[in-house]
């Protein structure tokens, strides 16, 4: 893994974002400015650097409102960034994407109930995409559709069915089939299991793993808790208030979290044994409003380790170990505090 990391990154990244920012509401109307005197700019993304490597599953984890979905929207091109750059295989992605560029990066949405057109049968939904992108000749559309359905664990007989005839998990399978129908290189999955029953979640997670293996997809898997991605992802990126605060291999981040926010997320995973519960890093309250990002380190108001330096300095994302980046001034101090039960974290 490390030889990939040490190579020049521009060659290895499937998708790379650098210094990406996205603000909302900068051009508020005179009426809303009149109403309240406060700042009206919401910084959904505040300088995000991240790369997705070929064939990897990268988990993007963070609380609601941390900007995960905004990043996803920018990556698929349905929103334009305020500043910064998105590059695809080393080439800068245009803000207005043509059919071919949009084909390469596909998305699976959070809510499987609103992500399928209620008036299209499964067969017509897939056929339209296959023909539009000339994936297969017309006479092979049916065979290809069946192949796609089989890939996601559904069978031929669903071709004539409408989305309303499926359960949430099945709909999510259909949404995945639609996304891979156009043979993308990259799949952005925006909390694809959070709307599903726990019993169904595992099967969908396994589906992502098998798709990566069979199709060689690079997958950005967005989740709001670490437990979901522990056994799925190769790497984990943790996001807080519009910025990436820690990136590392999954094993590494679970074994040696180097940002107190990551630590808090790990400690918040429900466990079977009372002894393993540690509330030293428990998060209090809501994350601060993205309208008023705290000065200094953006995490300091909720951080157990916060000191004076944290209130003054906004820490950059720095290398803290092999293939391990963290944006914490006390990353070394944190490393000295043992995890409650590290053995349990590792499979």
């Amino acid at each position: 893994m490390s030889e990939i990391l040490d190579a020049p990154a521009t060659d290895t990244a499937m998708v790379r974002v650098s210094a990406l920012t996205k603000s909302y509401g900068g051009g508020a109307s005179w009426l809303s400015r009149l109403g309240k005197g406060g700042p009206s700019t919401l910084k959904a993304l505040d300088g995000v650097d991240l790369d997705l490597r070929p064939g990897e599953i990268l988990a993007l984890v963070g609380e609601s409102g941390s900007g995960k979905s905004t990043l996803a929207k920018i990556l698929v091109g349905s929103t334009t960034p305020t500043s910064g750059d998105v590059s695809y295989r080393g080439a800068s992605a245009p803000s207005h994407r043509d059919r071919e560029t949009s084909r390469r990066v596909q998305m699976v949405f959070q809510d499987p109930y609103s992500s399928l057109n209620p008036r299209l049968t499964v067969g017509r939904m897939l056929a339209e995409l296959l023909l539009l992108h000339r994936i297969v000749p017309r006479r092979e559309v049916r065979a290809e559709s069946i192949r796609l359905l089989n890939l996601v664990g559904l069978e031929e007989e669903v071709l004539g069915a409408y989305p309303s005839q499926f359960s949430g998990g099945q709909r999510q399978r259909l949404a995945i089939a639609r996304a891979i129908a156009v043979r993308p290189d990259v799949l952005i999955a925006d909390e694809p299991v959070s709307a599903l029953d726990v019993s169904v979640q595992a099967t969908i997670l396994e589906l992502f793993t098998s798709l990566r293996a069979e199709l060689g997809l690079s997958i950005l898997f967005i989740a709001h808790n670490l437990a979901v991605v522990q056994h799925l992802s190769d790497r984990v990126a943790v996001m807080y208030l519009g910025r990436i605060v820690e990136v590392a291999d999954t094993r590494e981040i679970f074994a040696r979290p180097r940002h107190p926010y990551t630590r808090a997320l790990i400690d918040s995973i429900p466990r079977m044994r009372e002894a393993s519960v540690n509330d030293a890093f428990e998060l209090d309250g809501e994350p601060p409003s993205p309208y008023h990002v705290p000065a200094g380190c953006r995490f300091h108001p909720r951080c157990a380790l916060a000191g004076d330096a944290c209130r003054a300095t906004d820490p950059p994302l720095l290398q803290v170990g092999p293939a391990h980046l963290s944006a914490c001034l006390k990353a070394d101090e944190l490393a000295a505090i043992p995890l409650p039960d590290p053995a349990q974290e590792l499979p």
Partner: protein, 292 residues
């Protein structure tokens, strides 16, 4: 495929036996609407076969006759058979009602859909125009326009079209504002589809039902408008049989020959009822996904 992936399609849900998904002929309201409107249309089409009389030729020897064997609903003050005029009146009123809905349905829906989908300056302009038309009461505007354009069938079409397209525009704009935020619309765009394709093939079939259902009640409104204009003497010129002018002609004999004004009025009620049923039934039939 690995064993990990369950064969989920085995568990595909059977279509639920819900109100919305049962076959159309099991929907009582819809069937009632189809029967009533169907009968009215048949009556209008076959009026010449159903009645031996002419609706316009006067027979001054038999004026104001009571209902009887020869004239089932009696005759009017010019000796014309009331039933015959009622049947022929259905031709005019239904034709104008249906045709007057077509132009505003198409124009209003398209403008509203484009305004809602694209937003921006186009939306602003269309909606300000809509506001202007909304500010006037329906009948005031229709009557003014008929005055300006001159009485006659084509003036009525134009007047109603000019006034009622705004409702379709509002309905479709609202539908589009909701629809364009749906993930499946975003997904269609990510699939590389053009705006035109997304609008016509994906959003269109999902939102048009609302405008269609409204059109059913709008036909009722238009028929009422024609009848009202006829009653006010601004509608279809006499001696063409038309329900509104029949009510106008009949009201001077309301104390002696009450049927003269009442029967055409009941015909309007029956038509409205049939179209309302049809609209309700269609809304059940066309929007099964709303129940989720």
């Amino acid at each position: 495929m690995t064993t990990a992936v369950v064969r989920a399609s085995r568990a595909m849900r059977r279509p639920a036996r819900s109100r919305a998904l049962r076959p159309w002929y099991r929907n009582g309201i819809l069937v009632a609407g189809i029967v009533i409107v169907g009968l009215l249309v048949l009556v209008a089409v076959f009026a010449p076969l159903l009645s031996p009389y002419d609706p316009i030729t006067q027979d001054l020897n038999h004026t104001l006759e009571a209902p009887g064997a020869h004239h089932w609903l009696g005759t009017d003050k010019y000796g014309r058979d009331v039933l015959t005029r009622l049947l022929y009146g259905a031709r005019i009123d239904l034709r104008v009602g249906f045709l007057a809905v077509l132009i505003p349905f198409v124009v209003g829906s398209v403008l509203g859909a484009l305004a809602g989908y694209f937003g921006g300056w186009f939306d602003a302009i269309v909606m300000r125009i809509v506001d202007v038309f909304f500010a006037f009461p329906f009948y005031v505007l229709v009557i003014v326009l008929v005055f300006v354009l001159g009485a006659g069938e084509s003036s009525i079409y134009l007047a109603i079209a000019a006034v009622s397209w705004v409702s379709y525009a509002k309905i479709m704009r609202g539908e589009l504002l909701v629809a364009k935020k749906q993930d499946w619309v975003v997904a269609a765009r990510l699939g590389g589809m053009s705006h035109a394709r997304v609008l016509m093939r994906h959003i269109g079939p999902n939102v048009l039902s609302q405008a269609l259902i409204y059109a059913m009640s709008d036909i009722v409104m238009d028929i009422m408008a024609i009848v009202t204009l006829g009653y006010l003497g601004l509608g279809i010129a006499p001696p063409t049989p038309e329900w509104g002018s029949m009510i106008l002609d009949g009201q001077e004999f309301i104390t002696t020959q009450w049927a003269q004004a009442t029967i055409p009025g009941l015909a309007v009620v029956l038509t409205s009822l049939g179209l309302s049923f049809l609209g309700d039934g269609l809304s059940d039939l066309l929007t099964p996904e709303r129940r989720r």
